[in-house]
Amino acid sequence: MATLESDEAMTCIEARGLRKTFGRTVALDGINLQVEEGRIVGLIGPNGAGKTTALNAILGLIPYEGELTVLGRDPWSERGRLMEDVCFIADVAVLPRWIEVSQALDYMTGVHPRFDQRKAKAFLAKTSIRRDSKVRELSKGMATQLHLSLVMATNARLLVLDEPTLGLDILFRKQFYDSLLNDYFDGNRTILVTTHQVEEMQHILTDVMFLNRGRIVFRCSMEEFESRYVEVTVNPEKVAAARELRPMHERQALGRSILLFDGADRQRFVGLGEVRTPSIADLFVAVVGNHAGQAQGVTR
């Protein structure tokens, strides 16, 4: 049975009409979502877009309306069982401050069937974290390293990261993503991550999803993203010609116009200026800006 299951791409997360309101505020406005196993999905959105609410629903931390299945379970009613297969880092500062590193290792071994203490110790050996330190004695970066070591030593099927690198310096963020990709991701696991530092993550994602005002306004795989979207820094004399090609977005930088195109054949832009793949952040501004009905007036 087990081999049969692993051969097919299983659905990891499936949501239909997922809705969540807090009083009068609509945090999630009927989301439909399907994430296959083995993907690394970036969930991008402005503050208040509903990213954390969506993750919390997936993790069984909040009740919701609509249908939601994670690894075949209902997260709200089966959180305890679900957490055998799911790991999450909600925020860097959630490790209890009183706990000793060795106690955290022992407790994880005691309650988690998929936690490998030897693996965690191997990860910790690469850091300067001492086994007898308490979390409150660790720096913010070290506490994150500890949490990450615990998570990476857990053989989970889904890893959820909510702003995992918030408040960490650039060196550590780089390390974080490298070790996530090299030591953790093996093609069977699914990773769902939200972050503000999109650029640093762009190269590790397989899919990207934009969330705005409680709705998914855009989603595509990174292969599609790279072949479909083009950003052209247009030579000043070619601006009018470039605008004829119906860009989805235009912005100004250092006195030059930068136009973003969708579904276009790159050859068409060769003479207009410098052609490259846009960053996720730029596409996000284009999509969400257009979605909100702004920025259109500027481009046309």
């Binding site: 993790l59 500062a93 209890p96 005691g110 988690h112 069937p113 998929r114």
Partner: protein, 307 residues
């Protein structure tokens, strides 16, 4: 021939390591509480230490006081008193510890957001709340018992040495302070009153701890005061006050500590049947179960503060 059998054994081992029983999770969660709340044993240990110092100073005057005492009754009182006081002191300290433990148990993890870490582990809310309820119901009574018998043993040892040294002999002490019956009575009292009879008090505190967004101590105490006050003003009755008084100090008859006489040396006073057949016990346990069920529901419902 052996191959399939070995393969079978292999999968069986795998499935066993794959599943962790709820009992094991409860055990580790209980241990976790003891790691976090060291005051559970440090506070009574400190009280025991301070008490023993004072006791040691007085112990050297015991032979003189015994000789000055008139009659067997007074001698008995003189010998017995420090042991009763020691037991009451440790019980008082651990009750205060239980009180504050319960108020913090489901509130602290929401305040410092560590609930997000705990909820990322495969431990259900029911197991978590049960492990936290086990602290005042099981762990603290046992800690109280353990520390008290060690303390009283040291006291008897010191008294015996002093009496033997003075030439009076220790037998007068052993006749008046029978350790084994005292300890049996103590354990009985802890398990019946401090655990079962007080269960609704702890469950109420845990419920408030799971519910309140700030200052759980006020939410635990103020509503009772206000309701009691309104009851007095509106109906000129004191049912709530009587109920609380009954719960804290009443207790079923047949318990050596609540009978008022504080006689600790006769197990003949034990009346487990009277205790078990007391309606107040069962209604209290029912209320405790309801409060705990509500606390489980709230633990699932409530996230960290400020979100």
């Amino acid at each position: 021939m052996n191959q399939p059998a070995r393969a079978m054994a292999g999968t069986r081992v795998e499935s066993r390591t794959g599943g962790i029983s709820e009992a094991r999770r409860l055990y580790w969660s209980l241990l976790r509480e003891l790691w976090e709340h060291q005051s559970i044993y440090l506070a009574p240990l400190a009280a025991a230490g301070v008490f023993f110092l004072g006791f040691a100073v007085r112990a050297f005057r015991l032979p003189a006081r015994l000789q000055a005492a008139v009659g067997l009754e007074e001698q008995h009182k003189l010998l017995q008193e420090p042991y009763t006081f020691a037991a009451l002191l440790i019980m008082g300290v651990t009750f205060v510890v239980s009180f504050f433990y319960c108020l913090d148990a489901l509130y602290g993890e929401r305040r410092d957001r560590s609930i997000l870490f705990w909820k990322s582990l495969p431990v259900s809310d029911t197991t978590t709340v049960l492990s936290k309820a086990s602290i005042p119901l099981v762990a603290i009574p046992l800690v109280t018992f353990g520390i008290t018998i060690v303390l009283q043993s040291l006291m008897v040892l010191l008294h015996s040495l002093v009496l033997t040294g003075s030439g009076m002999g220790a037998s007068i002490l052993w006749n008046n302070v029978p350790l084994w019956p005292m300890w049996a009575m103590l354990l009985y009292h802890l398990l019946t009153i401090h655990s079962l009879w007080y269960a609704p008090i702890y469950a109420w505190l845990l419920l408030v701890s799971a519910w309140s967004r700030r200052m759980p101590i006020l939410w635990a105490v103020l509503p009772l005061l206000i309701i009691g006050f309104l009851e007095k003003v509106a109906f000129n009755t004191t049912y709530l006050a009587a109920l609380l008084h009954f719960r804290f100090l009443g207790g079923p008859k047949g318990d050596p500590f609540s009978s008022g006489s504080m006689q600790m040396h006769s197990t003949a006073q034990l009346a487990p049947w009277t205790f078990i057949s007391n309606g107040g016990l069962w209604s209290g346990l029912l209320v405790a179960a309801l409060f705990l069920a509500a606390a489980v529901w709230l633990r699932r419902e409530r996230g960290p503060m400020g979100s």
